[in-house]
């Protein structure tokens, strides 16, 4: 250390602020390559397209402008790792009434802020510029003869070291109520290994909790090993230490040896029997904010506004205002598709965030909000 050929004097003489490149050197490549782990961080952000991230692509934001530092501690919360040195929120700059352009909708949109995270509307799809891994089955690893097939993005579906993958570009996120706290399984923690799926991380929140908001996540699914007797997750030894390494999986392709060595390294007992288990991780999506004109439109979530009755349920009709036009203004998936994004399946969708799955009886305009249940002048037989 450091790498040979690095002129440290030159480095020291050119010390300066961090950049997207310096933070991204690690954070864009998490999981072993570009955009694999963090769906909303990729090397694309070195020279980003405005459509992919308006802060970095339009306004040339560096990471540290939001992730402010104090005594070398960097503010930010991670959904994947427990350690945190302070939080960062869109609202730090945008305030809790961020819609201000004098549009007819500002009042309603600012009310939405109490229940909906910014990126739910302002980044309706994730991994929109580089495909990310959404499925990783470690149990399939080890077949050196299996030829990886390329998917529609040109990404391989297999690697003998790592197993089977699925990649996605521009998919719809998974939405969940989230109050800023995560629940996570830590190393050595007992789990119910008879469950079909175990969440390694999951958001804490409830429709009944006033500070929880509907928040977008990348759901990373996979299959990994658990100790069948000790009931905790196993850590394999992967990278060979040197030429003489006899236990590293990526050299010897023997899970048993890899688990014995790996668990020894982390100081936990390995019973000698393991089983494969499906695990999910919720990764909060916070970057890749699109230009405001590409936020979800009202009708993309509220099916009730698609019919004849719209804003005039409550507001008087005005000849000067085209309610329909107002309600339909927003993300145009057809335009995004034309630009090469894989969003064909999202064109003309309604109930985008799936109200029932989030605990509502249905579209809140018809069935009432989570706290206010005001009738909206809607009659079932008068639609």
């Amino acid at each position: 250390m450091p790498a040979k050929g690095v002129d440290l004097k030159m480095v020291a003489q050119n010390v300066g602020h961090s950049s997207r490149a310096s933070c991204g050197a690690c954070h864009f490549n998490g999981g072993g390559g570009d955009a694999i782990k963090h769906a909303d961080l990729s090397r694309q952000l070195l020279e980003p397209d405005r459509m992919c991230d308006v802060h970095m692509g339009g306004y040339d934001f560096s990471c540290e402008e939001c992730h402010k530092t104090r005594n070398h501690k960097i503010a930010g919360r991670s959904s994947s790792v427990a350690a945190s040195e302070g939080k960062v929120s869109c609202l730090d700059c945008h305030s809790d009434s961020p819609h201000y352009c004098g549009s007819l909708l500002d009042h309603h949109l600012n009310n939405h802020v109490k229940s909906i995270d910014c990126n739910t509307c302002h980044s309706p799809v994730y991994a929109k510029c580089k495909p990310t891994k959404t499925w990783w089955d470690w149990s399939k690893a080890g077949d050196k003869k299996r030829k990886p097939k390329k998917d529609k993005y040109g990404q391989p579906d297999y690697h003998w070291k790592k197993g089977e993958f699925i990649w996605k570009e521009s998919p719809k996120p998974t939405y969940a109520w989230f109050n800023g706290y995560m629940d996570r399984i830590l190393m050595g923690e007992k789990v119910d290994i008879h469950k079909k799926v175990i969440n390694l991380t999951s958001p804490v929140g409830s429709i009944k909790d006033s500070v929880s908001k509907i928040t977008p996540f990348k759901l990373m699914k996979g299959v990994q090993a658990v100790d069948a007797e000790n009931d905790y997750f196993l850590v394999p030894h992967l990278f060979p230490r040197d030429k003489n390494d006899t236990t590293a999986y990526w050299k010897n392709l023997d899970w048993e040896k890899a688990f014995i060595d790996g668990m020894n390294a982390v100081g936990l007992d390995y019973s000698g029997t393991f089983k494969w288990l499906e695990t999910w991780m919720y990764w909060r999506l916070e970057h890749e904010v699109m230009p405001a004109t590409f936020a979800l439109s009202c009708v993309q979530c509220h099916e009730s506004l698609k019919g004849e009755r719209t804003c005039n349920r409550c507001h008087q009709d005005s000849k000067n205002v085209d309610f329909k036009k107002v309600l339909n203004k927003g993300t145009d998936f057809a335009a995004m598709k034309a630009k090469g994004r894989d969003v064909g399946d999202l064109i003309n969708t309604t109930d985008y965030i799936d109200f029932k799955a989030l605990g509502y009886k249905g579209d809140p305009i018809i069935h009432g909000g989570r706290f206010k249940k005001l009738p909206m002048g809607y009659k079932q037989n008068n639609n």
């Binding site: 440290l8 003489q13 339009g58 070398h72 830590l186 390694l200």
Partner: protein
């Protein structure tokens, strides 16, 4: 010969175009940068209006948020940088402030005496150099910015009030500050950094990026722990 000249000049233009195309620029930021560079003519005479009456007058004239032409400014005036250049530019969300304050006269407190000019002008039209002997009543642009921003942020208890709350600090050129022999090793370089930044070295040792563990205030059931992180207990499925 002429053919050759045409060919080579065409070739040079092509190379120049290609190299220009390779320079990535953030479009909104670029526009703001260009605007920040502009110098405008000094307005000597302003109309001395009572602020309360001016506010009403603007409302009566129908000047509103819709008249805000520029949402975003970069405050990076050459007028200030001429004298000192310790801090980076400030991002200023103009329309957002206009909407929040809902009173243009809070900042655009006077108008030019010349009635043919616009009601609202940019700060640097009236506030320029700090020490203008002809206009001792006029504070300079730097003072105007700081007085306007800081006082309002303090009064409203909203918005940054410290230097680094708005600016990134410019890093001084370290070419001459760093005194190292060629081919210095990592320990020598670290010692040289610590010669001036000893506290920064101490701070670094306490960070999650250095230790790969740290406090976990946002993980339920572990909110008071300090030992979790990638280097210790983190699990993942990739």
């Amino acid at each position: 010969m002429i053919k050759k000249i045409i060919f080579y000049s065409g070739f040079m233009i092509l190379v120049a175009a290609l190299s220009m195309a390779q320079v990535w620029k953030a479009p909104d930021q670029e526009k703001a940068k260009e605007r920040a560079k502009e110098r405008v003519k000094f307005i000597k005479d302003y109309k001395d209006e009572d602020n309360i009456l001016r506010k009403i007058a603007l409302i009566e004239k129908g000047i509103s948020l819709d008249d805000v032409k520029n949402n975003y400014f970069l405050l990076d005036s050459p007028i200030i940088k001429e004298r000192e250049d310790h801090y980076g530019p400030v991002r200023f969300a103009h329309k957002r402030h206009a909407a929040l304050i809902n009173d243009c006269t809070e900042c655009h407190h006077y108008r030019p005496k010349d009635e043919s000019m616009l009601e609202t002008t940019r700060c640097s039209a009236c506030h320029q150099d700090s020490f203008n002997a002809d206009h001792p009543e006029r504070i300079g642009l730097k003072a105007a910015f700081h007085q306007q921003c800081t006082e309002c942020h303090q009064e409203e208890q909203n918005g940054p009030v410290t230097c680094t709350g708005c600016h990134l600090k410019n890093v001084p050129d370290h070419k001459d500050l760093v005194k190292l022999a060629d081919n210095s090793d990592a320990f020598q370089v670290t010692a040289e950094c610590l010669r001036c930044h000893d506290q920064a070295g101490e701070d670094m040792l306490k960070t999650a990026h250095w230790n790969w563990r740290g406090p976990s205030p946002y993980t339920v059931k572990h909110r008071k722990d300090v030992q979790h992180g990638k280097g210790t207990t983190a699990l993942n499925n990739y």
